[in-house]
Amino acid sequence: MKLASNEFMQASSAALLEEDKAQRRSLIGQFLPLARDAAASAYGDFDGLRAHLKRVRRHTMAHLSHYLEQFEEAAVQHGNQVHFVADAEQLNSKVLSICQAHSARRVAKGKSMVTEETGLNELLLKAGLDVLETDLGEYIIQQAGETPSHIVGPALHKSLAEIRQLFLDKHTLGDRDLETVSEVVEEARGVLREKFLAADVGIIGANALIAEHGTSMLVTNEGNGDLCANLPPVLIVCTTFERVLPRAEDAMALQRLLVRSATGQPQTCYTSFYTGPRREDDVDGPLETHIILLDNRRSDILASDYSEMLDCIRCGACLNHCPIYIGVGGHAYGWVYPGPMGSVLTPLLTSLEQAHHLPNACTSCGRCAEVCPANIPLPDLLRDLRQDESVQQLKPARWRNGLRLHAWLLRHPGLYRNLTGWTMSVLGLLGKRRGAFRRLPFAGGWTGQRDFPAPEGGGTFMRQYAARRRRGGKRG
């Protein structure tokens, strides 16, 4: 996917003006947190489960090579072919070469953020393959020629009316109403079924890799993942190495956290485990299976101060709870991963230089960290990235210098007192009648959108307090 994160400022301002979409986002921002909270409290000790998974995750990351070897060994025993690839290009060409080895023409894909990250579809299409997204949301945006706006609901930005029109335009099925959600879903299901049956290769992602069994776990609501995995003769699981967990029960803990945090459901419709190709007495299943484990800078993240970001289980809760994501929507972030998790991941997976606005799209309100099932301290990581931004001198110089000058002044109380005392007295007098300024020199960032409240008057607190003390200690 093309990276456009450095256009965040323009893109976000433009997004704020799209009233229709903004209103839908605001509803999402109200509904999904309520659903998540209800599911978390119905579970009972949800925070205990979070802490448990955190320990398991940290343990796994500390012994990563052990668990990856265990996974690989078990997976190979079941007849899978396991490939470790370093970057996007390697993943894409691996997939292409598997497709070509089978003279494949049609590929059916389940939802996979990893292949969005590597831009797999473009490559396969260029090579002449017919690539079909089968997750309803992914299918919708593929038909519309758009990119995902949310990691769980890629088409959450689209209204029913837009989707209806899209289907009427794209599906040559004659006259029909398509008035209701279920009619729309039925139509997509019908169209997709046909294509599943014709697919030569299925591609899916994974929510977890279970080291002890060499099994991958996939959680979906539509069952399309199972069809992609079982109907075509070849299955390719595209995922990243940090999905690995030691035991099946760890994957179940993750699943419990994931579904509740993502949609507020106690259980998704499908939780599937894929262990390998069809065995002799199996009635169905693929004949050949590949598991591709992508690195794409994740080893660097693991070795850095940002390693906790690898604990992310892609539930999307931090997006749904982030007022900035809800305000501007996912596309403004300019890449695959939006919201708080994206503002951390995008600079780490691409470069800070290409995405340095994103860590600033944060008020440190802490709501994301409060709900993150993986207990990732997102606001702290974002602050650390802002520090890196400063060290790498990517921040506008006037900001940096202003902040540093201010900090310097704070360490000189006498000077600070004089300067602020004088300034505030003048501002207090000037603003006395109206109480606020519409415009102030050097304060355009503030006064562009709001008035600047005038100081209360009478000088700073410290001056007034000192004067009262001089007058004989009567305070208050």
């Binding site: 600033n360 008020t363 709501r367 921040k395 409240p453 607190f461 208050g476």
Partner: protein, 263 residues
């Protein structure tokens, strides 16, 4: 002979409290400071306002200029460590002292930061959990009040029910709750000037909820949020009055609200 019970003995003594005025109250709203002093004294504290204080260093810290924030934090630790308690009329500055200072240091300074952290209190928490106010002397506030929970107070310090309880006890006010009261108002320190459009949109959501609450006064515990919200309300021409909770608790506030003139 039994020794005097140490706890009981201490409760008869006046508590030695340093007021951290916060830079915004110092510069923009001195009455918050005077209200805080009045409240603390009524709750039986001896209040000192250390002269060397300036600001907690949050603007630099949150913007990633951490090395510039470190000496500011060190100066604040030195200024406030002689006192039994440090009380702050702001959740975000109190959070800075109690949560973020210790993370800035290692070794001896880390220990000193931890010691300061342990005695730092946000004002409304202090007045409900450490020193209690006597029954009010002023008459009940006959206004509709809504309350904005600022994020650092809410999430770092667990300030939510305390200001509501105090408003009830001291002013006879039952807070009319804001819809979406867990959501940030869009101030975020330098965020509000660096990303003004998004910040304004978040303020608008908050203000719409404030109008919908039916209250005429928006109270809060953090001047940053209140200045931002009142500035945006003025720009939109909304008739809402903004007050720091300390002003309401200390007695019938007569002067203009935040950002209002004397016309």
């Amino acid at each position: 002979m039994d020794k005097p019970h140490p706890k009981r003995k201490r409760s008869r003594q006046r508590r030695d409290v340093a007021l951290m005025i916060t830079c915004l109250a110092d510069l923009m709203r001195p009455s918050v400071g005077f209200s805080a002093i009045r409240l603390l004294e009524r709750a039986g504290c001896r209040v000192t306002v250390p002269e060397q204080q300036t600001c907690c260093g949050q603007p630099a810290y949150n913007s990633g200029e951490v090395d510039a924030a470190v000496p500011v934090a060190r100066a604040a630790i030195e200024t406030f460590e002689p006192f039994d308690y440090v009380v702050v009329p702001s959740g975000s500055c109190a959070g800075m002292l109690s949560h973020h200072y210790p993370a800035l240091f290692e070794g001896e300074w880390h220990e000193r930061a931890l010691a300061l952290s342990a005695k730092t209190w946000e004002l409304t928490r202090f007045l409900t959990e450490v020193a209690r106010l006597p029954a009010p002397r002023h008459k009940p506030l006959e206004r509709g009040v809504t309350y904005h929970d600022s994020c650092a107070g809410l999430r770092e310090l667990g300030v939510h029910q305390q200001p509501r309880q105090l408003l009830q006890e001291q002013c006879g006010v039952q807070v009319s709750e804001l819809g979406q009261n867990q959501v940030c108002c869009g101030f975020g320190g330098t965020f509000c000037a660096r990303m003004p459009d998004i910040s304004a949109k978040m303020a608008d959501d908050k203000l719409d909820n404030a109008v919908a609450s039916g209250a005429s006064v928006v109270a809060g515990g953090d001047l940053g949020c209140l200045l931002h919200l009142s500035g945006r309300a003025r720009r939109r021409g909304l008739k809402l009055e903004f007050r720091h909770v300390a002003e309401l608790l200390a007695g019938d506030p007569r002067g203009p609200g935040i950002g209002e003139g004397r016309e």
